[in-house]
Symmetry: C2
Subunit: 440 residues, 2 copies
């Protein structure tokens, strides 16, 4: 029997804005950051649960404060009891009525709870000696259903329907585990497509992406239509006629603008348009999907919870679901999202990049393939080759495919040296912007 003895947090920021990596139409100068948490116990195994919320700089301190305020719910608790019922562990935090007022189930407080849930899953997978994807893939349909909060979902997905989906995939799990271990899982790359890059760099990186074996690239769009047409021309010439190119406007448009703009670009044969408008605008997504068909609408990296995903599916506003590992209430809520996608027959192509998002979200796609959708067709995980070196078990990419990790845990543990080096002291690029603003 062991007890949680500490919940340690760190404000970690990488000064990525200095290189314009990650620049898009809405986020010109992100400093990729992590509000980081480590759960420590008094068990003799010395195992710890690590996780984080990804942010892009300023406000990472607020996200850390939200993690700090959850400490009192955890320290002193029995670890085995918590880990044995991960549904109850999530509800302990998610159903705290006073904390719920700060959302409900959205924004800073929701993401903090999600990180705690993810840290507990990291600890649980380490104790099981399994990578998280495999650990989840060995749970019974009943246990998987028990971790999902079905509140507000029952008009679209009931526990019984979720069980049906999981039971249908159960007999053939081992075949897909074997296939994953052998072949990995497809990735697509956003590396060529940042708005801040020159045409020459765009052209070179597009060619490299094809040479590296990626099956799809993605370009940021939405700042200037003429630029988008020129850049898509360069990209299409670089990758050839039949190679999939997705575009991403990062919520730049209103509904009518989105439809008009995408239709101007549709001649470039687009794989999908991502985040055409506000992630809150379900009816807007539905109108855009109708207006740009057959181009598919993809969204999800900013979708706040399962309730919005449910409606995007009900309204046919989203043809590709892009879950994010640290936006929602952790692994539990993402299992709900995967089940919703399976119910509606929509492929899941997770959002990744940032810092640590590739490491974290890959486990969910592998699990989706093994135990939920049981399908790899048309599915791929975003990949950006950036900041992986700071993780204990960095992603491994080979010929455009994620190789599946075998190390125990959720992939969310950062190297101690990186944690120390990038702990924010008010001196990174992120801080200098705030300081400059304050001194006006």
């Amino acid at each position: 029997m062991s007890t949680i003895v500490s919940v340690d947090t760190r404000d970690i920021r990488f000064p990525t804005s200095l290189e314009l990596d990650g620049s898009d139409a809405m986020n010109p100068d992100p400093d990729y950051s992590a509000a980081y948490v480590a759960i420590r116990t008094d068990a003799e195994d010395g195992l710890e649960g690590h996780a984080f919320v990804f942010t892009i700089g300023r406000g990472n301190d607020v996200q850390v404060a939200a993690l700090d305020t959850l400490r009192g719910h955890l320290v002193g608790r029995n670890v085995e009891e918590l880990l044995a019922d991960m549904g109850a562990a999530s509800r302990l935090l998610m159903h705290d009525s006073q904390l719920r007022w700060l959302g409900p189930e959205k924004g800073v407080m929701h993401m903090a709870i999600g990180a705690i849930v993810n840290a507990l899953w990291d600890l649980r997978a380490k104790r099981a000696g399994q990578p998280l994807w495999l650990h989840l893939s060995t749970l019974s349909p009943e246990e998987l259903v028990s971790v999902v909060d079905f509140r507000y979902l029952s008009d679209a997905l009931t526990p019984e329907q979720a069980l049906e989906i999981l039971r249908a995939a159960e007999p053939t799990r081992q075949e897909r585990i074997a296939h994953l271990l052998e072949a990995g899982y497809p990735a697509y790359t956003t590396t060529p497509g940042w708005l801040g890059y020159s045409d020459e760099k765009l052209d070179r990186l597009c060619r490299e992406a094809v040479a590296d074996g990626f099956p799809q690239i993605k370009l940021k769009v939405g700042a200037n239509l003429d630029d988008d047409i020129r850049r898509l021309g360069i990209a299409r010439a670089a990758v050839g006629p039949d190679f999939p190119i997705a575009i991403d406007s990062n919520q730049r448009w209103d509904v009518a603008d989105a439809i008009a703009w995408v239709n101007e670009l549709a001649g470039f044969d687009l794989a999908w348009i991502e985040e055409p408008t506000s992630p809150d605008d379900i009816l807007g997504h539905a109108a855009i999907a109708r207006g740009v068909a057959p181009v598919r609408v993809a969204t999800g990296e900013h979708v706040q919870n399962r309730i919005v995903f449910k409606q995007l599916l009900q309204a046919e506003g989203m043809q590709v679901m892009q879950i994010d590992a640290t936006r929602v209430g952790g692994v539990n809520e993402n299992i709900a999202n995967l089940l919703l996608a399976a119910k509606f027959g929509v492929p899941v192509c997770p959002h990744a990049g940032g810092v640590g998002l590739c490491e974290a979200v890959q486990h969910l796609s592998f699990f989706d393939y093994v135990a939920v959708s049981a399908d790899m067709d048309g599915r791929m995980i975003e990949f950006v080759d950036h900041l992986h070196e700071h993780f204990v078990t960095p992603t491994v990419m080979e010929r455009g495919r994620y190789l599946v990790p075998s190390a125990p845990g959720a992939g969310t543990e950062m190297l101690p040296a990186s944690i120390d080096e990038y702990t924010w002291q008010g001196t990174t690029a992120a801080a200098s912007v705030t300081t400059a603003t304050a001194s006006v």
Copy 2:
């Protein structure tokens, strides 16, 4: 010319859970709290801008941290420039791309920005020597439109349409100002209806509400159907057959449950069903509205921003809009909400109660009557007779009507003695719950 010299914050919590005031189906033990902010300048007038985010206890510290992180955007800025263009002042915070990542436009960070915007309006109204409602009611349609962020609204409301609405009301503003000064504005009371109260207390408070002149009462429901039927019977007997009774389930139900439960209660002649399900579930609200008609659906106290309000109107999921003064991006976003309601012909009956919400939100209803909807019919502001004594200009209620305040400002300034007495030191009821949890 003057400069912002400090942005001071406080974590203020009232131990209301000890009395079960404010208890409902989702919030059994709230500790009404305020993440409080005061903006101070070096001007000789000594005027300050005060505002707060209302929370119900735990997590108020996180909300304060969000206010703290905005300090750097404000200290050192020219006050006159900020106050002269409140649209730009809001965008300065709302469009900070790094902070936006934490929402976008929802939850802790959004509410913090809203409080800063409200504090600036408080300061601006004080400088103008006017109560906020009157100050807003003297602005030109063009200036009012300039403070609204129309991003993501244009498929439902354009700046031109907003101008039309405001211009239609402009010639007769003075008549309505005179009427307000003479007759005040209708209130309804939730005081009788908290779930934690005994049947005897419910009966007595219902009779008192009628005697006090309130035109409507509201009961909390949703924990137990038999209890709801019994309590509605007591209330209906106490107030008589034609007196409006609204009910509020505080997000307790899924869609099918909401329809079935409300239809069980419909025989009590309900004024509206409030928050039947998740505030995020636009399609769910629409289904419920169809399923419980002619009972109207009311919602808004947890609606995160104008984009969700827009859709609730588009989908006909909300027949009564309940704006909240501290949930969204401040006065600016609430002007957008009022304009949306006017465009769709839906009455606005604000959420209030808590601590300071009556003081704050009344200004928006008065302004709505004078300059936006130009209508008082079917509109009323929630009232709970609780914690008003902590404010510099507490609400004044007479025969069930809010009397309009004449003191300059937004009504959001707390008394210094109350601020000091209730600044959280980890010793209120809220804290004791956290401590109990931690020591398990």
